[in-house]
Structures are given as C-alpha cells and as structure tokens.
C-alpha cells in the first residue's frame, strides 16, 4: 500500500491511564493505516483497547487517559498537534462516529430532525429550507420510511434499528472521509443487525468513505469488512484481509476467538473454510449424541412443566384514578417440557420472550390459562421449594450491589430452607466451587468481579436451592465470545450433573443451536413454530422462522 492511499495512518500509538501513580497502558505501540474507501474491522474482546484507539482518533479520550507516544495522521496532518477548535471542525466534516447505544447518544429532548440538521448547521452554510431538504434527503438515504414524519419524532419514539439508521444519517450527512462505527449493531437483534450492516456497506460503496468498524463479534467483521485487525491487551496480534484471517488464522488468539464463536448451524456453502467445517462436524456429533441421551431420558422422566392455553397480559396504567386496561402480550401458548431437556425460545426483542419467562416463574400474575410445574399450578403455590429459578441477562443488575457475594448466595437458603448458619455456609462454599470460583470470592462485592465471574455467581445463586427448572434469559449475550463459551460449557456441565431442565431464551441463534434440544420461535406473542433443533434450523416451515434464520446466517 502506498502512502497516498492511506487517509488515516496511526503510527506507534500508545495510550495509558494513570492509575495509582502508575501508568497502565491500554493501547501499546500500535500502527495501522486506513485506506481510501475501505472498511477496516477492529476486533477484540472488551478491554483490548479497540474503543480507546477509536476515541483517540476523534480526540475524545477521557481526561484521565494520556497519549504517551506516537502520532495519528489524517491526510498528512498529525491530529495530536491540532488545537481543540481545529479538531472540532474536523469532527463531522473529516471524521465522524456512530456509537453503540443510539438511545443515549441522541439528546432525548430534541427531535431527530433537529439533531441530524444540527450536524449540518455546524459545518456548512445553507438557508433554512435547504437544511431541511438536505436532512430529509439524508434520512431517506438511510432507508427510513416517511422521513418527513421521522424528522419531527423524538428519539424514544423510534425503534433501536431506526435510531441507529438516524445516527448513521447524522454521521454521513456532512460526507466525511472517515466514519468510525463503534459496535454499531451490538444492541440490536439479528434481523436488524444485518440490515444496519448492509446499510453501512451501501453507504461505503456509494460515497466512497472509509469506515472503521469496531466489534467484538467476528461474524459482524466478516460480513462487511475487507481487512481486519485483531487486538488483544492493547496490541495488534494479527492483521490482514478478512478472507485470509478466517482461512488461516496466524496466531493462537485469533484461532481461539474464532473457535469461541458458537459454531454455525448452517450446512453452509461448499466454499466454507476448513476450521469452521471441522467445528461444525464436531458440533453435529456432540449434538446428536446428546440428543440420543436425552431421548432415552425423556422417556423415563416425567413432564416437569406443562403450559396450556396461556395468555399473558401487561397492565396498562390508567390516569390516576382512571380505568386500568391490559394489553395482551402472549397469546395461546402451549408448551410441555420434560426433565433434563433444554428448550430454546427465540424471537426478536419485543416478541414476548421475557414476558413468557416471567409468567413461568411467577413474576407476572396477569395470566389466563394453566402453568403447571411438577404438577402444581403456579397460581396456587406462591412459594415452593421446587419453584423455578431464573438467571437474568445482566448479572450486574440482578446481584444486589450493596451485598457481598457470600450474603447473596446465602439469602435464598435463609428464605427457603431451615438450615443453620453452618450448614448454609457449607452449601455456599460447595456451590461457589461448583461454578468455578473460590471461597475468596465470597468476601467481594459484585462490582469487584469481572463480567464472567458475575455470571457464575448469578448461576450459583439460582442453583443453590436445587431447582429442577432454570430459566436462562439471554444468559450470555452481554459477554465476550471466549467467556461466552466458558459459561455455556459450565451450564452444560451443571445440567448433566444435576439433571436440570433449562429454558433458554436468546436472540442469538448460534448459541441456541449449540445448547438446546428443542426450539420454539415466538413472533408477536405467539409460537409460530416449535420443533427439534436440527429439524427447525435445517427445514423451517414458517415464513418468519425462515427470515430469522436467513438474517442470522447472513451475518455469519
């Protein structure tokens, strides 16, 4: 690559945080170029320094971070030498950014139109009518329906996908030379994810701007990037074209990252690279084996959960003393589940997956129909020892931040058993080792643990009362791929050991494929299809299931 082609070149960049008088390096002597018109992927786990690199290009590093060495050259100018005023001019016209969370990146008090337009106002001079026309044009270009209506909407009135489109419109309206997209699709469900990635690609082709796409998800990188950089602990461990990287990963870390991606379920095109075909075979083997096992088991085991004609409602608040209405979220659902089985529930966000889970565990009492757990109807048994437990999506929220881990694990025993203090502590110690932590962790608070460790604690807290049925609500979607794989492994081990029954809720079809025996697809509160996992994935009958699978595969 010649120097002329590179619009951004980062040379020997080192970024550090001052922490307790020592400098902690988060980005360690990295150098790379971004060429004109290319989409460059930066992939790595959280903490690998990928976001810091992006922020340093924008000049938006947090105050505690220091650039220790190196330079960032954009069309030959070193950005590090620019004054704040010059930088501000450059942001927007030269480089702009698409953030992960479109909800917090928009000002909730201003309309979408006003915010997209502001970008234009800051960087160009037009009349009022021209501003509006250009903004509408930009909104149309990113595929938003009814742009003149969207223009007057507030951020919370749009769906996540639409907000992300509006954000892309905002980033592109001044036709910058470089767009940095930091995890632009992480907060979205698969169908929307795919559409947003295609949109980025389309904008790249049409306007010829370069894009740096930052993601922890290799599939996202693979789907639209030309070249990719793999980062770990602030260093670039590998870089090259995406096809090359995926076909012949050069380092152990890249291999590990790729292996940790829940292996695809598609029978895939013949051109598939070796690694993933092997992965697929392996996976298929274990899966059939497990199913044989389970088939035997399910003959022996009785039904643990029966749901018949279940309707779940959501109370709608009346105004002060007004009449209360209710909205139906789940419509006529029938499920039966045998001990030791894992049932996957998939669907887009808002389809009613979590509502169904809450109804099963008894957190939602606005229900009609029958839910029987161990032949006991949920409505009759407020508290029973065999009541199902739930592992929530975000253990940071589900573990009480003011309590130590030991207390958190002891609490369910205090409430549901008559064990003495010593016996309780013995059980707590046992379970903490079961989930791969040590007694030392009992003295810590949730915020002192890593994401993966918190997940282990949440699982331990659910299992400590020996439930038979455990509901896992998106248990791994907030984790890095490598840790995801560890947690899934742990869940499988525990299932085998205690003969647990799982209901596994996820929007990640790969994870579902890996974990579940049966899958039901929920769309707008109804089960549209429920089958054995391989049957569903390889010969879907329902139109919606097909679309869901297609978009999931497209990102593979």
């Amino acid at each position: 690559m010649s120097k002329e082609e590179a619009i951004l070149s980062i040379e020997d960049l080192t970024i550090g945080f001052a922490k307790q008088r020592k400098m902690k390096t988060v980005v360690d002597h990295i150098s790379f170029d971004v060429k004109k018109g290319e989409i460059l992927g930066i992939v790595g786990e959280s903490g690998s320094g990928k976001s810091m690199t992006a922020l340093s290009v924008m000049g938006l590093l947090p105050a505690s971070a220091k650039i220790l060495s190196g330079g960032i050259h954009f069309f030959g100018t070193n950005l590090l030498n620019l004054e704040e005023k010059e930088l501000r001019q450059l942001r927007g016209t030269g480089i702009s950014m698409v953030f992960q969370d479109s909800m917090t990146s928009f000002n909730p008090l201003l309309t979408i139109g006003a915010q997209v337009e502001e970008m234009l106002r800051l960087h160009s001079k037009h009349t009022k009518e021209e501003y509006r026309a250009l903004t509408l044009e930009a909104l149309t270009e990113v595929g938003l329906p009814n742009p003149s209506e969207i223009y007057n909407r507030y951020p919370h009135e749009l769906s996540g996908g639409m907000r992300q489109r509006a954000m892309i419109a905002m980033a592109m309206i001044t036709s910058p030379k470089l767009v940095i997209a930091d995890e632009p699709t992480t907060a979205l469900d698969v169908t929307t994810q795919n559409k947003i990635l295609q949109l980025l690609k389309k904008m790249n082709e049409k306007h010829g701007m370069s894009i740096i796409l930052i993601s922890h998800d290799l599939r996202v990188i693979q789907s639209i990037c030309g070249r990719a950089i793999v980062m770990k602990d602030g260093r670039i461990v590998e870089s090259g074209t995406v096809t090359e990287l995926f076909a012949h990963p050069g380092t152990e870390y890249t291999k590990q990252l790729m292996a940790a991606v829940p292996v695809l379920f598609s029978r895939s095109d013949p051109g598939q690279n070796e690694a993933s075909i092997m992965g697929l075979k392996e996976n298929a083997n274990t899966n059939t084996e497990k199913k044989d096992n389970n088939a035997d088991q399910s003959k022996r085991q009785e039904e643990i959960l029966v749901i018949r004609n279940l309707n779940v409602f959501y109370p709608e608040k009346g105004i002060v003393f007004g009449k209360k209405g209710r909205k139906q979220v789940i419509r006529d659902v029938n499920i039966s589940l045998k001990q030791g089985e894992t049932l996957g529930i998939v669907g887009e966000s808002g389809s009613g997956k979590s509502t169904l889970a809450k109804a099963i565990v008894g957190l939602n009492r606005e229900i009609e129909g029958v839910i029987k757990i161990n032949d006991v109807a949920v409505k009759d048994s407020e508290i029973s020892v065999s009541r199902p437990q739930m592992v929530f999506q975000d253990p940071y929220g589900s573990l009480n931040p003011t309590k130590k881990i030991g207390w958190i694990l002891e609490e369910p025993l205090k409430l549901q058993t008559n064990l003495g203090k010593k016996e309780r502590m013995a059980k707590v110690n046992e379970i903490i080792h079961q989930v791969g932590l040590t007694s030392e962790h009992l003295e810590r608070y949730p915020f002192q643990l890593s994401g993966g460790q918190r997940h282990r604690v949440a699982i331990a807290a659910a299992l400590i009362v020996n439930p038979k049925l455990v509901i896992l609500d998106e248990p791994v979607s907030s984790l890095d791929v490598t840790i995801q794989a560890q947690i899934l492994g742990l869940l499988k081990d525990l299932q085998k050991k205690y003969n647990l029954t799982y209901i596994f809720i996820s929007h990640d079809l790969n994870v579902v494929f890996q974990m579940c025996n049966r899958v039901c697809v929920i769309y707008k509160g109804e089960i549209v299809e429920m089958k054995e996992v391989r049957e569903l994935f390889f010969s879907p009958q329902n139109e919606y299931t097909k679309e869901l699978l297609k978009s999931a595969m497209a990102t593979v």
Partner: protein
C-alpha cells in the same frame, strides 16, 4: 488524596478536618468548660476577649467560650433529633409508597404535598405558637416538617430500584415484601440518603438557630447557638464578639458538613 485506598477530593478532606474540629469542641464542652456557662458576673459585663476570657463575655458577664461550647452541644443534639425523626418516618413512608404504589401512595403523597406547600419555618412557628415554645416542641415541629423531603427522596429511589433485576430475583427466592424493602432495597439508597442526612443536619442547625433567635426554641438561661445570637443582637455594635463566636460556629458546622456531603455525592 486517599483515605482507605479511596481517592478523595480536597474539599472532602477539608470538610472532614473542619467537622472533626467542631465536633471535638462540642465533645469537650459536654465534660469541661472553662467557666460555668450560666454563671453571671456583673463586674465583667461585655468585656472584650482577653487571656482569662478567650472570647470575651456577654452582657451578663458570662464566658462566651463556655457558652459556645455548651450551646453548640445543645444545638447539635436538637439537630440530630430533628433529622432522626424526619429521616426515620420519611424513609418508612417513602419506602412504603414507593414500593407499593397505588392509592396508598396517592394519599400519602398528597398529604406530603400539603406539608411542603407551606414554608417550613412558618409551619414551625404555627406549631410552636399552638403548643408553646420549648426545646422539645421545636424538635417535634421541625422533625415533622423534615419528613416530606426524605419521604419524597426515598420514594423516588424505591420506584427506580424496585424494577431492578435483583429485586425480581429476591422475589423468586421467596423473600417477603418487607424483607425486600428493608434488607434488599434500602441499603441501595444510601448513595443519596447519607449526603441528604448531612444536609438535613445543616438545615436543622440553621432552623434551630432561627427559631431560638426568635425566642421560640431553647429558653434562657440555657445556651444554644441561636439563643446566643439573639441575645447578642442588641449589643452588636458595642461588643461584636458576642455575635461573632456563635455565628462562626454555625458557619463552620454548616460548611464542614456541606463539604463532606458534596464529596460523598461526587463519588
């Protein structure tokens, strides 16, 4: 700067220093004062600060240093009692209304609105004029007036926290409502509750001083900071030291606690 491994702001440290100094003076005052704070001495009326009377004497010849030490103690005890009443009942009311909601919440909150719609000092005046002046009565009056602000704050915290997953988790474990409210949720409100206790203490010190200044609170000859200010008023120009000492004590108290609560909030 660091305390127990935590980094702290300069303001926070300054607040700690001032507050501990002030509290030290008050603590000593409980056990030892240079003179009897209520003993009059006609020969030493309004004498300026000297070696024998470090802060001078007032118009009855009483030692001002002794009176400030004793008086600040009285003021503090009253302030703590006021905050205790306000925070205790406010927290209970806020927890119940925030957690359960519904008509109960409506009724209690409208009552709260009524209470907050009058200026607090005015309410205290009405209360004291109905039940008569005196130390206990201003504690009750101000205590009740302090309830709504705590109720409102705890309620809004509870409304947010009760939707968090750890509360749902506790329900799944089979914890009862009261256990969830006071064992699971309440500790999570300390982030806002503790700074507001400190600010409440400040307001209580000022309110006590105000009411005693008006002659409604602590009765003579007992000393309190407000009482002393009120007595010093007529001699402001001739012997300003009578007013400066208690005034400075109030300022230092309020400043110290404000700096600390500011530092806590910024964490």
């Amino acid at each position: 700067m660091k305390i127990k491994g935590k980094t702290c702001s300069f303001n926070y440290i300054l607040g700690l220093v001032i507050t501990s100094l002030v509290i030290l003076i008050v603590l000593i005052g409980f056990f030892y004062t240079p003179y009897d704070p209520n003993k009059m001495n006609a020969a030493l009326k309004n004498s300026p600060p000297s070696l024998s009377h470090l802060l001078g004497t007032d118009n009855f010849g009483r030692d001002i240093l002794s009176r400030v030490m004793k008086g600040a103690g009285t003021t503090y005890i009253i302030a703590v009692a006021i905050v205790f009443i306000g925070a205790l009942f406010g927290t209970i009311a806020g927890a119940l209304t925030g957690y359960f909601g519904g008509w109960f919440d409506e009724v209690l909150m409208r009552f709260n609105d009524v209470l907050t719609s009058f200026p607090s000092i005015l309410l205290a005046l009405v209360f004291v004029s109905v039940f008569g002046p005196g130390t206990y009565n201003i504690v009750y009056a101000l205590g009740i007036i302090f309830i709504p602000s705590y109720a409102r704050m705890v309620r809004s915290e509870f409304i947010v926290l009760k939707e968090r997953d750890f509360v749902k988790n506790a329900k799944l474990m089979g914890a009862g409502n009261f256990r969830i409210m006071f064992v699971h949720i309440l500790p999570n409100t300390k982030r806002v509750l503790i700074p507001s206790l400190l600010i409440g203490f400040n307001n209580a010190v000022l309110a006590e001083a105000g009411l005693s200044y008006l002659g409604l609170g602590v009765q003579p000859p007992q000393a309190s900071l407000g009482r002393m200010l009120s007595e010093a008023q007529s001699y402001m120009l001739d012997s300003p030291w009578c007013a400066i000492a208690p005034g400075l004590m109030i300022i230092l108290t309020v400043l110290g606690f404000s700096l600390i609560s500011g530092g806590l909030e910024n964490e």
